[in-house]
């Protein structure tokens, strides 16, 4: 991926964002896009962890919730500046991820999955029970909007521009990361941990860093979520939501930055488009998870791309043009 190509992708992205901002009528579409954007933030982080790092988090909703509630509580209850609150959320999520990751990543195989599973549910229960702090099941209202200087981000369209700019920056950072020294080390680790270690890659430290990094993305998404809806409730941060995030990663393709956007988009929009879908939502998510993992374990889009690339490689007599 050389800089020229990269530049094109980002300008296309920026152009698309601006075009939509100008042409879409009605708050509904912008709200929908805001949710897609927030979900995409979550999914990109999770994808770095799952697709590149080869680990799985079954509790990412917890970091989403930690970010959201830190922002919400600090701004609504204590009147703290929203940007400071956002940073506080990042610090909380990051350190929690550190504390969780250090013991969990020392062990092999399933253990991070199990630890994040347990952690996710504990956070959900605490959010429900610590009513004095979090407002309990009925949630926390009165969250102020973000402000960029004099401009208050209190309309869907303004939020859309802000969220998607943030998303664009995050996507760029993530794409950079994948192509960097540690990104390579991460992909190497995924393919052969022993070989990576034999090349001086500290695999434990790397896994931990990626886990924390993905928790930070989730926390950022949570804070944005709180300031978008101006209201949050524990029902948004369930185990089922963590599963949905994993499904989005798989749909878009593991180890694919842009696939994350696709996965988030499709699985956010689909329930909206098909209102009858709601009853079948659970079944369909489960079916997608199973089908994709059985037949295209690298994710739907990535799996199809791989098949296409492999066929093209074979057709060209075994040499790929530089």
């Amino acid at each position: 991926m050389n800089p020229g190509w990269l530049f094109n992708r980002w300008s296309l992205f920026a152009a698309a964002v601006l075009v939509l901002a100008a042409s879409l009528q009605g708050d509904y579409y912008f709200s929908l896009l805001n949710f897609i954007g927030i979900h995409a933030l979550l999914v990109v982080g999770l994808n770095l962890l799952m697709g590149y790092g080869g680990q799985i988090s079954l509790g990412h909703a917890a970091f989403f919730g930690l970010g959201a509630y830190t922002s919400a509580i600090l701004t609504a209850t204590y009147g703290v500046n929203p940007w400071l609150a956002l940073v506080a959320g990042l610090l909380l999520s990051g350190s929690t991820a550190f504390l969780l990751g250090v013991p969990a990543l020392k062990l092999r195989g399933y253990y991070l999955a199990m630890a994040t599973l347990g952690f996710g549910i504990i956070v959900y229960i605490v959010l429900n029970e610590a009513q004095a702090l979090t407002g309990g099941p009925s949630g926390l209202a009165g969250i102020p909007s973000l402000a960029l200087g004099p401009v208050l981000l209190n309309t869907p369209r303004r939020l859309y521009l802000f969220i998607w700019t943030t998303l664009g920056v995050v996507l760029a950072l993530s794409a950079n990361l994948v192509d960097s020294r540690l990104g390579r080390a991460l992909r190497a680790l995924h393919d052969s941990e022993a070989a990576a270690q034999s090349l001086a890659v500290d695999t434990f430290a790397l896994k931990l860093k990626v886990f924390i990094w993905s928790a930070l993305y989730a926390s950022l998404a949570g804070s944005l979520y709180a300031h978008t809806l101006n209201f949050i409730a524990p029902s948004s941060f369930t185990f089922m939501f963590s599963i949905k995030l994993v499904t989005m990663v798989l749909l878009g393709g593991m180890a694919s930055i842009w696939g994350s956007l696709l996965g988030a988009g499709v699985l956010t929009v689909l329930p909206e488009l098909l209102t009858a879908f709601h009853d079948y939502e659970v079944v369909i998510f489960g079916a997608i998870l199973m089908a994709v993992m059985i037949f295209l374990p690298r994710g739907l889009i990535r799996g199809l791309l791989d098949l296409w690339e492999f066929r093209r490689y074979k057709r060209e007599g075994g040499s790929i043009p530089v």
Binding site: L182, S198, A200, I320
Partner: protein
């Protein structure tokens, strides 16, 4: 492994041979930190390294290949070699994401050095191919290139000739000799006796986890215990 005492002369090509299950790969795992010895010391460049994790030992300048080739299948040939530069580069998570100028310079250097390593083994023209698509002989060369890219002081080759045909073995032999030209100490585990006798200056023979002979190739060839180990005690010299 029991009672194995071995020293490797810097700049030499040394081989470790022995029947299957003699403990040769175990020795490699011990040296590179994948296994920890219950007793004894492993000293490298004046430091004791036993018990340290593999990545820390690799960072000191010991590289290795594996008996069953462990390439990074989802990466290209060039990217595999670039991972070899890991210990000689610094960019971290933040610098990787933000792409500072110094990071970009380092990336370019990594790419160039990796290409050089590929040229050394003769794989530069396949730089953009997926590593998984290479035939076995070239995969082994890529593993060597990857290790070479890390500018090791000591390179451990674990049965590099396994599964190679005559032409590929010739290429491998040239490669090993070229490594010595570069000043790299090579420790070789091999079953291919012809190759071993040709390249090795010193040979150590293991059997059932014990060291049974040590010396230059010609002496080893005539050593009665070695012959017995390979062919059984009934064989007449």
């Amino acid at each position: 492994m029991e009672d194995v005492s071995l020293s490797v002369r810097p700049g030499a090509i040394q081989a470790i041979i022995g029947p299957n299950g003699a403990g040769k790969t175990t020795l490699f795992h011990l040296v590179t930190g994948f296994l920890t010895p219950q007793a004894g010391r492993i000293v490298f460049a004046g430091q004791e390294i036993q018990g340290r994790p593999p990545h820390a030992i690799a960072a000191l300048g010991i590289a290795r290949t594996f008996q069953l080739v462990q390439l990074f299948d989802h990466m290209t040939v060039l990217e595999n070699a670039m991972v070899g530069r890991h210990r000689l580069s610094r960019a971290g998570l933040l610098s990787g994401a933000l792409r500072f100028p110094w990071t970009r310079t380092e990336e370019k250097a990594i790419r160039e050095e990796a290409l050089e390593a590929l040229e050394f083994v003769g794989l530069a023209d396949r730089a953009q191919q997926p590593a998984a698509a290479l035939p076995l002989g070239l995969k082994r060369l890529l593993e060597i290139a990857r290790g070479y890219a890390s500018r090791p002081t000591l390179l451990l080759l674990d049965e590099p000739a396994s599964g190679l045909d005559a032409g590929e073995t010739d290429r491998l032999r040239e490669m090993i000799l070229a490594l010595r030209e570069q000043g790299i100490t090579v420790l070789l585990v091999e079953h291919d006796m012809a190759l071993t006798m040709e390249v090795a200056e010193e040979i150590a023979v293991l059997n059932y986890g014990r060291l049974i002979a040590e010396g230059p190739p010609r002496a080893i060839q005539k050593h009665p215990e070695v012959i017995a180990a390979y062919l059984g005690t009934d064989w007449q010299a």
